[in-house]
Amino acid sequence: MTGAARQGGRYDVAVVGGGHNGLVAAALAARAGRSVVLLEAGERLGGMATLGPRSPGSDGGFDSAGAAHLVDGLSPALVQGLELHRHGLEFAVATMDDVALLPGGELLVVSGRDAETTRRSIGRFSPRDAERFPAFEARLARLADALAPFLDRVPPTLKFQDWAERLEYLRLGWAMRRLGRKDMRDLLRIIGMNAADLTEEVFETDALKGLIGFDAVLGNRFGPRSPNTVYTLLQRKSGTIAGRRGAAALPKGGPAALIAALERAARAAGVEIRTGARVAQVLVDNGRVNGLALADGSEIDCRTVLSSAHPRTTLLDLVGVRQLDADLVRSLRHARGEGGTAKVWLRLGAVPDFGLSAGDLGRSRLVFAPDLGFVERGHDAAKYGELPDRLAMEITLPGLADAHQLGSGQKPILSATLANVPYRLRNRDDGALKQALIQRTTAALADLAPGLAETIEAVEALTPKQVEAATGAPGGHWHHLETGLDQTYLLRPAPGLAQYATPIQGLWLCGAGSHPGGGLTGRPGANAARAALAATRARR
């Protein structure tokens, strides 16, 4: 390759994709002394996190809104390592309260801060459940604790070949052993179970079971009666934010502010960030990365590429099947990752009446999933390609806790994340889906918050197909690939790819499709960067 053809510049490391995992990987590589360029195809950074409702022609005034509205598993090691607080990351609410909305205006509160509030709230439905809840929470926390260390670690292979790998298995074994016999037995019994069966063993209150069942499935194409949803629940609980395991936090300025902090951290470390730079091809020479070809015809000269794009995009499109083994191509094609989650945003003329004060509303993650059957029936519809008549959803009103997140005219924005919205919809195109999402969301909210409908000033929606189109992630799934047991840890994104390395030497996967999955955790990006840096150090 001649120098003239490589006008894109020469770097030690190129990172594909400017989502939060790409930013994390780029920042870590730069801090390790590598020259790094980050290439984002779009004009904005942040990937799915900041993918907003600013559709062409929209004047909704939703500037601060993004597809993500909370942060629930950001790696503490990363916050510290990248000095994100110094770069501007602050939390408006460190620990959100969970509030289950019920038809008729009743509420069930699981407070992130005050156990007594929780006890009293559940007690109004069932004194027995109120009594059992702390033990249940502690039980999940213990089990989640055992899984947590592995979120920040590179999964071992199944070859048991070198000592580092054996050590990793020992570590895994030790984490299980440390649980003690009783908890270990408990974990083995429940990890493959469905969340509905587990909650029904313990609780009698529909609202509580619905809340837990919803949390177990949100983001994946599962219902609470789908197998191994206890595992997905535990995985959700294993993240730590602002020092609390399993909690969700509201960043000041929203997820866009987290992205901005990551961008500052990356730039401070020396990362060159290019937007509007679409990667067309990973150049491979004799099985090794030999640079990147960009859509504009220029080439980047580099030997290490970290790609935060979907694993299928990275390998099947950017590398191409001709460089890969057909069985690997098959595993990648079969990896499940059709999105099942959508967004609706409403700009409201007034603070809605959910039976909470404006201050409490700002601090609350409202969940409308009044019972397990409600969520499961939604999943039933979705799995047959139908949009459920009644949508289970998670709602925040971040502007009520953080004025930076008010919409235009200082009006509160209601951000709803909708479960069970099928990517592959029968008899309905995406435009009709968008209208139906808006109509069904506003109808549900009109029931839950009297008078809300009359205050709606603007609405927007985001479907899985739009997420796909905007991010290039096939399926538009917020984890890229589902996080069921069959697509987790050693098996994520596909057998043989779990160590972030690919068959192409120098090419690493650093996005949500890799362990431990999506969500604003930064962990796939960090783990992949560590693995790639260790490998290049070894070769130097």
């Binding site: 099947v321 890969l324 057909a326 191509v329 043989g496």
Partner: protein
């Protein structure tokens, strides 16, 4: 439901397009199953059928062989990614033999690839491959179609095979080069003929539409007595292919997509097919990284070898010893009539695989109604026991 009766848990085996002719000649009524078809084990005397092939010519019905047509603008690229040999070098009108592997470099199968035209190939295989071929076709502009039942196949093998072809008006085909392939006019229609075979002898394989199979058979058999052309069954073929050193799936190895145990899977180097892996071919092929890694790490752990065994008792499934250490096992064995040697194909640990190595074979044999056992000296040799010059001539 189909109208074929159900016996023994499966649909009735299908007759091949040559069945009516072979059945009339199958004097001992010896049949066996082959990919859902009945084929002849022996017509009367395996020895006679064997010697016809080595000294004159024979006909063997290969119609049940699975056949796949791969066609389209990317057919060459797709097959080049499938096979370990360089398919881009295969010209239209030529065939090649070689293995194809999974991503871990383990042989799925080996077979013959015919390039019928620039953009159309036919792959012959012993085990079903449609699933794998379709997986391999993803991302390529090709169609993959199974054409097993659309093509009847007859192997004409033996030193007089050319003369037989000349006698039935196919003299042009008789001049095909080794591994050549062509289409010829025959009896008012077409026939495809390749200079290929499984016997290690001079020979051809004749491919024709099933409805014209009997015409072909009749034309050949009409000149049979002029050249001692004899129909042959699988029993004689097995001796022939062992002499030729041709491996057989499910005997020398189990295909990677079917093996239950990892230990039964084999890389090309394990099977002595290293020559059919082209390290210089520019394109990636399935298993390339794994095969190169195995080579970089010092080569395979075991190798397929030929054995020359003392005595005349075939060393079927014999364990092999170096001193007291068990180092391998025989996979195929026979007395070679043409070589007058007791030969075998075996898999042994790589450290004991160099030609000239002396091993001991633990040979069991039938002694009327009891079993006898003898410890026979076995010498490692190249597995191509019989390679007559006229094979390529």
């Amino acid at each position: 439901m189909s109208d074929s009766p159900i016996i023994g848990g499966g649909a009735m085996l299908q007759p091949t397009p040559f069945h009516r002719r072979t059945a009339a000649l199958n004097l001992v009524n010896a049949w066996e199953r082959w990919q859902g078809h009945t084929t002849v084990t022996t017509f009367l005397s395996p020895e006679d059928e064997y010697f016809a092939t080595r000294t004159a010519a024979s006909l063997y019905d290969v119609s049940p062989m699975l056949k796949y047509r791969i066609a389209g603008p990317d057919a060459e690229a797709m097959l080049d990614r499938l096979m370990t040999r360089d398919v881009t070098k295969l010209k239209p009108g030529r065939a090649l033999y070689g293995p194809w592997c999974d991503g871990r470099g383990r042989v799925i199968e080996e077979g013959t690839l015919f390039r019928e035209s620039a953009a159309s190939f036919r792959l012959n295989a012993a085990e079903p491959q449609l699933f794998w071929l379709e997986d391999c076709a993803y991302g390529f502009d090709v169609t993959v179609e199974e054409v097993t039942d659309a093509i009847a196949g007859l192997a004409l093998q033996g030193p007089l095979a050319k003369r037989v072809l000349e006698d039935i008006g196919l003299g042009e085909a008789a001049r095909l080069p080794f591994f050549g392939l062509g289409r010829f006019g025959f009896e008012g229609g077409e026939i495809e003929i390749s200079r290929t075979g499984f016997t290690g002898d001079l020979g051809f394989e004749l491919w024709i539409a099933p409805e014209r199979a009997e015409t072909l058979w009749d034309r050949l058999m009409a000149v049979a007595d002029r050249h001692y052309l004899r129909p042959m069954g699988s029993q004689a073929l097995n001796t022939l292919r062992i002499e030729a050193g041709h491996i057989l799936i499910n005997v020398e190895y189990v295909g990677a997509n079917h093996a239950l145990r990892e230990s039964q899977m084999r890389t090309p180097d394990d099977l002595g097919l290293g020559w059919a892996v082209d390290p210089k071919k520019p394109g990636y092929f399935n298993g390339r990284r794994a095969i190169e890694a195995e080579r970089a790490a010092g080569g395979p752990r075991r190798r397929l070898v030929g054995l020359d065994i003392e005595g005349r008792k075939p060393a079927h499934a014999a364990y092999l010893y170096a001193g007291r250490r068990e180092v391998g096992q025989v996979t195929s064995a026979c007395w070679s009539p043409v070589l007058k040697r007791n030969i075998a194909l075996a898999t042994v640990e790589a450290g004991y695989a160099e030609p000239g190595r002396k091993l001991k074979a633990d040979v069991y044999y039938v002694k009327e109604v009891t079993q006898g056992r003898v410890e026979a000296a076995a010498t490692v040799v190249e597995p191509r026991f019989y390679q007559p010059a006229h094979r390529r001539g």
